[in-house]
Symmetry: C2
Subunit: 235 residues, 2 copies
């Protein structure tokens, strides 16, 4: 936890916030902070800054925040990603959020096991929690956007054209072109499930103006591929 | 598992290999392969190619390998990494091996909890298994090198000077310079524990000729940072 995030509901009065539970435990037992200490804080969806501990006991802590900095900028990347194993998806959300991806679009694909859509991880609350951990890790305050499309064809035909950005790539292990690097401009990148998109799916992306690119001779796990391509495109 | 790896001890005779256990299960129940099917295979430490299933039953499979391709090249990166939480280290080893890191050097640091060194993950066998999974994922056959130094000062004074390559970087969240990208040449990168190296440690790296670099305004988990910096430097 590199920043303590709070929301409006944590306000104790106009100038103090009151934290208990997980955040209080972190302050008391991990940071071992005491009255008068200064901590890095941020308002969810808002600014960051520092906060002085005005009071702390076994149950809660009162902090006076001073917020005057903007959170780190998001990277202008929309990640379209096939549903994968819940353990992998969790890491995709975590690493992607920490790295500053603006928007996640989770879609179905031929090779995605249908049971993945039943995973409790995809209850909105669980995703929000995973994102919160990643924001706390990376010092950010703003949740990325997330959306879900359970039917591939309506997605590529109706939604995909609206997502098009300056650079549109679909990661495909057998593509001839190598993925570009350091593009640093608004982009959409599609990443397939373990085993990749099938030719029909790649074709549909290409019809929508996406360029198929490989990421080198090594096939990476989906969460590893997401971290790698994000770092490669935005440096 | 994108390649089936075997070693000399798996030879059934001069031209056949016999696999049981985990690999047999994968062939039979995940790939659902039958006699006559062609699979991607590789000899640990050697070449890759294809193998025809000559026989398969409930217990084992006999494969005739034809090996005529080189595995993907390693990237010329030595990763010096502070001991971290075993769960993180496991992922560092897994992602780093899959991405082709040549050599891991695991060191102690001020902020590394001493108990981490007791973790059963650091039994050689467990690390080898984690590396094997990553080789199977990425289609590689060669284990990276790995070494351990439990004392920081003797490491930086006696060992570090011998590790110096063309580019030597130490990742430091508060460094002024940004990490370079697409260097694609022999490099050594040092990554600290959660919370980073302390100033004394950074100083020691700098004395040895390392440049302190930041990776942007976001602080990433150690395994995420390793995947990101590897992708950034080698694209």
């Amino acid at each position: 936890m590199n920043i303590l995030l709070f929301s409006n509901s944590d306000h104790y009065d106009d100038s103090l916030i009151k934290l208990d539970g997980r955040r209080h435990k972190h302050i008391r037992h991990v940071l071992k902070a005491v009255k008068g200490d200064n901590l890095r804080v941020g308002q969810i969806g808002g600014k960051t800054g520092s906060g002085i501990i005005e009071f702390i006991n076994e149950e809660y802590v009162l902090i006076r925040p001073e917020l005057n900095e903007n959170p780190p900028e998001k990277i202008p990347l929309t990640l379209i990603i096939s549903m994968s194993r819940p353990k992998s998806m969790k890491k995709v959300i975590r690493y992607g959020t920490a790295m500053g991806i603006s928007s996640f679009v989770i879609i179905n694909s031929w090779k995605a096991d249908k049971s993945y859509w039943q995973s409790p991880f995809f209850l909105e609350q669980n995703i929000k929690e995973e994102m919160l951990m990643a924001l706390e890790q990376s010092g950010d305050t703003c949740y990325p956007e997330i959306s879900f499309y359970r039917l591939f064809k309506p997605f590529v035909e109706d939604v995909l054209p609206k997502l098009v950005k300056k650079i549109c790539l679909v990661a495909h292990p057998y593509a001839e072109k190598q993925a570009p690097s350091s593009i640093n401009c608004p982009s959409v990148v599609a990443v397939g499930p373990e085993g990749g998109f099938i030719p029909y799916e790649i074709e549909k992306f290409e019809e929508a103006g996406f360029l198929s690119v490989n990421m080198g001779p090594r096939i990476l796990r989906v969460e590893n591929a997401v971290a790698a391509i994000t770092a490669r495109l935005f440096t």
